[in-house]
Amino acid sequence: MTPTRSMMMVTLGCLVTGGLLLAQEQRSLTLPPGQNPHLGNPESIRSGMALYRFRCADCHGLDASGYRGPDLVAAVAGGATDERLFQTIRKGVPGTEMPPTEAPDNDLLLIIAYLHSVGTVTATERPTGNVENGAKLFSSQCASCHRVAGRGGRIGPDLTRVGIARSRTALVREIRTPSEFVAPNYETVTLVTKDGQRIRGAKKNEDVFSIQVMDTRERIQGFLKSNLQDVVYEKVSLMPEYGPGRLNDNDLNDLVGYLSTLRGADMAVR
């Protein structure tokens, strides 16, 4: 190697390394342009997890499902953009406990990559069933209670983005055995009024003196407990169990395939 060439290579090497270091040390106010290089990279996700544990877990919970701070799994599944995540971490939320940070951009990108890996499903998990048949099944069996892109029932959770929020395994479990875990805001209660009328529905809120529900006819209403004869807390979900007798394995596969495609809807008026 000639001295000139070696000098050039050394210079180039320094420039490249320096550029990388510079990028790693940069502290931008907005999301750096281009794809986050850490998304889906297992090593990056591990580093992001370590950073998250030190800097975020105390408030947002070790599993990112919220403690003093908001539920970040729900935020990501609910469509929070990387730009929004980046700016929130960088600038903090003035007037709240969320502080700004001067950490390098790279740390923020690692944390964002980690958050995408927690409780959300990447597009690499491809649907396996017959999506068309799944959509028909959804329409006939599920849509009276669940909403997608502004259409359907409201007594059950909105499933517009369920393909991002739930893995295939989780979807199967929640269809076959919905009572195993009932999400807050969907717990089943039956209210017995003083004249003996029974109102069954999903509990939306409650304190010592009052309870708020959506009944099975989708009527939302609050009741003072002093005006009720009884409040019955049921362990069974309002959603019926879809066992093999009600939904065979092939149909289940098709339905889950369809649900996996639900990754948000553009609701903008143009």
């Binding site: 030190f54 709240t96 406990e97 700004p100 409650e206 304190d207 010592v208």
Partner: protein, 538 residues
């Protein structure tokens, strides 16, 4: 000028000068008198004993259902109150988020003056820029600031009189506690243990702002408790924050403070030993800052169970013997009655579900149960890191001799791992997850401090962080986690009144005062103060 005219001029001048310099003086004796004058609330807990109990009797169990809101005050800023307002001569002195502060007309809720502290942009703190209140003496107010200073304000204008730095905020120190004035000193503690700092309690001259003494809550190598830390410099990162106001026993000239947990919070191997004087009750000479005695509730804590609760002083008869005691409902889930002369435990009993200790032994140490040390795989322990109770004030009613506390029934899975310390960065070495099947709830509990036994409870539908206030008419005021302020019959726990505030009381408690012949109940919640009273007679 004739002699008589000269005399009139002199008399008038003196009178005018007196009028110009008169200020709502608060003397050391006023502070010692506590609730003797119930138009006032001069210190965090209402008096030096920490009772948070008022002698007022206008609002009773029979008429409390007639209470209604008289006015509300909104801060107009983000962030929630964690403060106890002070009350003097019909004016409220209130601290809020980001070290905003106000003087407010107690009759109408209208602002008289406002103080805003210019805070640095690179603040570090674990748990929000909150503040728990002023202290006052003379014509001065004292506030600890989130950037780790202690400031004195002119009570009439909110103008700054002096500003003393407690510690460097850039490495993670902060201050949220309501100071405690004892004689000519203002006593304050430092927070910031999550950043690997070393806690202390300081005393400053109320006039000059000069530091009189410092007591480190983490023993150094030359201290008697120094051997409870590993050799080396781990004590410099040993935590021991102070963020809840202590109490004062004038007879012994002792101040009592509960100290925070050791740091790093969860990783046992980083700090083998008992880690004195963290998670302890310390009794300190008010003049010198010298430790008289200590009792450690949780030796070598690994669950983030700060002992920063209010130490409540009382005189009880236990087993036929009169005892001077300090009562303490601890975040670790145990209720303690301790001899405040000797520091020896008299009573120790769980007041919530506790899975980490079988009991407190006769030597005062907890008898540990296996399987509760956090590690990388996680271990389930009750209570959770929020504890059996926390920063919310309890109350003691000397008439019924009952201790009232907001209890939290919670559990968590605790994890820990090694973490490299870096100044200015959080240093906790672990974290927690709430078990999915865990149904947490809160309750107001009345405890007999002579036995530790539960007298009654009122369960809430969710966990609450509300403080408690009692009155001599037999009422307990407390809040649930859903935004209700409630009144209970103190003898039996029957709910008598409630009002939905719109936001839960978080670390705040009610205060009560007499003004124009009416008893007011003042409740901070969210960014709002609400004043309640009975209907005015025609």
């Amino acid at each position: 000028m004739p002699m008589r005219a000269l005399l009139i001029v002199i008399v008038c001048s003196v009178a005018l000068a007196a009028q110009q310099t008169a200020s709502p003086q608060v003397t050391s004796q006023d502070l010692l008198d506590g609730q003797k004058d119930p138009s006032r609330w001069l210190t965090y807990s209402g008096d030096y004993s920490g009772h948070r109990h008022s002698p007022l009797t206008q609002i009773t169990p029979e008429n409390v259902h007639q209470l209604s809101a008289q006015w509300t005050f909104q801060t107009g800023t983000l962030g929630s109150f964690q403060t106890t307002p002070l009350v003097l001569d019909g004016v409220l002195y209130v601290t809020g988020y980001n070290n905003n502060a106000w003087a407010i007309d107690a009759r109408s809720g209208r602002t008289i003056w406002r103080y805003r502290r210019q805070l640095p942009e690179d603040l570090r703190n674990c748990c929000g820029p909150v503040n728990r209140g002023f202290a006052m003496v003379g014509d001065r107010l004292f506030m600890a600031t989130i950037d780790a200073h202690l400031i004195a304000l002119d009570i009439k204008t909110g103008g700054l009189l002096w500003d003393a730095e407690l510690a460097d905020y850039k490495v993670g120190y902060s201050a949220t506690v309501a100071p405690l004035v004892v004689k000519d000193k203002v006593i304050v503690g430092i927070a910031g243990a999550e950043f690997g700092t070393r806690g202390f309690i300081d005393a400053y001259d109320t006039q000059t702002g000069k530091r009189a003494w410092r007591f480190y809550t983490v023993a150094g190598p030359d201290d008697a408790g120094g051997k409870t830390w590993p050799t080396g410099d781990s004590y410099l990162r040993g935590g021991g924050s102070i963020w809840v106001t202590g109490t004062y026993d004038p007879q012994q000239n002792l101040i009592f403070f509960g100290t925070g947990n050791p740091g790093p919070d969860y990783y046992s191997q980083a700090r083998e030993g008992d880690n004195l004087y963290t998670a302890s009750l310390v009794a300190i000479d008010a003049d010198t800052g010298q430790r008289r005695w200590h009792y450690q509730f949780t030796p070598h804590d690994v669950h983030d169970w700060d002992s920063t609760q209010v130490p409540v002083l009382g005189d009880l008869t236990i087993n036929g013997q009169p005892r001077k005691v300090v009562m303490f409902a601890n975040r670790n889930g145990f209720f303690y009655t301790i001899d405040r002369v000797t520091g020896k435990v008299i009573v120790a009993k769980p007041f919530v579900e506790t899975t980490w200790a079988k009991e407190i032994g006769t030597d005062g140490r907890p008898v540990l149960l296996p399987g509760n040390l956090p590690d990388e795989d996680g271990s389930r322990t009750c209570p959770d890191l929020g504890g059996g109770t926390n920063f919310m004030s309890p109350s003691y009613d000397p008439t019924t001799r009952l201790f009232f506390v907001t209890a939290r029934e919670t559990c968590a899975v605790y994890y820990s791992w090694d973490q490299k310390f870096k100044p200015g960065e959080q240093y906790e070495s672990g974290g927690t997850i709430r078990p999915r099947d865990q149904k947490n709830f809160g309750a107001l509990r009345a405890i007999d401090p002579t036995t530790g036994r539960l007298k009654w409870e009122f369960r809430y539908t969710s966990v609450s962080s509300s403080g408690v206030l009692t009155t001599a008419s037999g009422l307990v005021f407390a809040g649930d986690g859903d935004g209700n302020i409630m009144a209970f019959d103190s003898r039996i726990g029957k709910n008598l009144w409630h009002y939905q505030l719109g936001f839960p009381m978080r670390s705040t408690a009610g205060t009560t005062y007499m003004l124009d012949g009416r008893q007011y109940l003042l409740v901070p919640s969210g960014s709002m103060l609400t004043a309640f009273a009975l209907p005015q007679r025609p």
